[in-house]
Symmetry: C2
Subunit: 336 residues, 2 copies
């Protein structure tokens, strides 16, 4: 029942100018007399005028919105990334429209991308950490700026990603440096690139050090899986160091070891990945690897903006190095 929102013409009438002049004031166009500008601004304030982005989007062909495609925004990593992305976008004057997707298969992804395209978003960020997303993305319309985050490093798409391998190498090396003969790895789900990268880094560090590479212990991202794997590892007397693909797995491992009477770090050392806020309060405080989600978000946005503004140019690939956070879950191996 509300009256129509004031439009540009209303402001123009009140200020005694044409709507075009109002538009110029709004867009910071230079050739407007100071006095006119002030009159217009006063009229805007008086009417509580709010430019209609939809109209602007219609005539310019693009809206100041960035579409995000994400899978599970409840996991710590994706949630942090999303928050960081939103903040970075806001700083550049963009809004963020999220499209969650249950599975990262072609159908789901392109459905959400279609929705975003229907809104004429300025660009799209896809958080595409699994294999299935890669192929889906290649079949997308090419005429919209697009950046993938945590995606497939082997595909020719603009990509920003955490340097998983570097993080894993640092974690593994840290354990080797403490004196452990080798390091076991509880990995994330096999179709995630994050998992793959962390496995790769772990393996590299071991072989570079001439250490034996123990069999991989595959899991998913859950504490439950970590617990199951931990129960197994706890029974193997020669295991002295474990690197888990994330902190939640580490939590599960920690509990399994605890229940089996194996002390951390005295008997076994554990390192995680992600540095969730609680990691410092695990029993014991967890040594882990911290990715810089803010940096990833900023890099993604920057890459997107260069695509939006220019026809081409700018880096197509960016990796952000994570840092090791040493806490109390690592110690030298026990003497035999």
């Amino acid at each position: 029942m509300a009256v129509r929102d004031p439009a540009m013409t209303d402001v123009a009438r009140l200020a005694g100018v044409s709507h075009q002049t109002v538009s110029r004031v709004l867009n910071g166009h230079p050739n407007v007399r100071e006095q006119t500008r002030l009159r217009v601004q006063a009229a805007i304030a008086e009417l509580g005028y709010r430019p209609n982005r939809a109209a602007r989007a219609l005539v310019t062909g693009r809206s100041q919105v960035i579409g995000v495609v994400a899978q599970n925004t409840t996991l710590y990593g994706p949630a942090s990334l999303l928050a960081a992305l939103e903040q970075a976008a806001a700083e550049s004057g963009f809004a963020v429209s999220v499209g969650s997707v249950r599975d990262l298969d072609h159908r789901s992804i392109s459905a959400v991308v279609e929705r975003h395209l229907a809104h004429r978003v300025a660009g799209i960020v896809v958080i595409a950490p699994v294999e299935s997303a890669g192929e889906a993305l290649e079949r997308l319309p090419k005429d919209v700026p697009l950046v993938t985050v945590d995606g497939d490093p082997h595909r020719p798409m603009p990509l920003v990603t955490v340097d998983q391998a570097a993080g894993a190498r640092a974690a593994t090396q840290h354990l080797l440096d403490a004196g452990h003969p080798t390091v076991w790895h509880v990995s994330g789900p096999s179709d995630w690139f994050d998992s793959a990268g962390r496995i790769e880094g772990w393996r590299e560090a071991l072989t570079a050090a001439g250490a034996e590479v123990p069999p991989l212990v595959p899991a998913d991202w859950s504490a439950a899986a970590g617990y199951r794997c931990g129960q197994m590892l706890a029974r193997m007397p020669d295991v002295t160091a474990v690197f888990t693909a994330n902190d939640h797995l580490a939590l599960g491992v920690l509990r399994a070891l605890h229940e089996h009477g194996r002390r951390v770090p005295d008997d076994i050392s554990v390192v995680g990945f992600d540095d969730v806020p609680e990691a410092a309060y695990f029993i014991p405080p967890l040594t882990t690897v911290r990715p810089d989600f803010g940096a990833v978000a900023r890099a993604s946005l920057e890459m997107l903006l260069t695509q939006i503004e220019s026809v081409s140019g700018g880096a197509l690939r960016e990796t952000v190095a994570p840092t090791l956070v040493a806490r109390r879950s690592v110690a030298p191996p026990p003497r035999r």
Copy 2:
């Protein structure tokens, strides 16, 4: 350098009809001959036509987008809520635009709300769990459908919220039922309504049972704070049961107790709130209270939709009851 996206007139020309008929097909208008409908659909498919939501939003005055205002989407609760909201919205054909805000003060909130209004969103959901948000909201334009989640129960705004007090009562009662003479409470930040509700429920359960009400232990939502409070509680021999305002606090308490050699649940029982996925893998597995974020999201959306569709009517307030999840962190108090 892409050519202009096909528009309705292009489809119309190809199908040999008027743009209006295309519009009718798109909107499922009844009076279109089957044969015409098929011709139009074929043309749509052939051109890869995608209706322009911006144009539609312009002429109808509202876009099929729901704006969300949220503070810290990294915390488990808000993140889950956001995800659930996005899913519920998608099921109703709405997109979700997130506006994060650093502080929930008037300036920040109204800035984000302005942004949403500029996009002519169909409605706004504000996740407003703190005091400062309440007053900010009352000063907002009244002509847009708005629902607050986790907001101030004492303000006359459409509100959907978890029944914090009920959850807290259940948690406290559970501990009393186990035989504990009383229950201590480590609370969340004092300006959060979630905290207030949980404190209230805890107090109610104690007084209803005729138990002594111990002094409140105030904290924030972090494991760090839980740890500090836990260190204090660990030193007090008569503390046998602790209810923490969330699971992260419980984690911190658990570690402090562990370090002080006080066993859980043998010496002290602990109950949390939220049921984060890892809670089952704390040491020991944490008894906690699980809010149903999906239900909250669905209720919020439904409330918003009735506001959007009709002039008024529909409930203005809805609470969804959380459920207690019993695990191993609770046991009868030790014998003296």
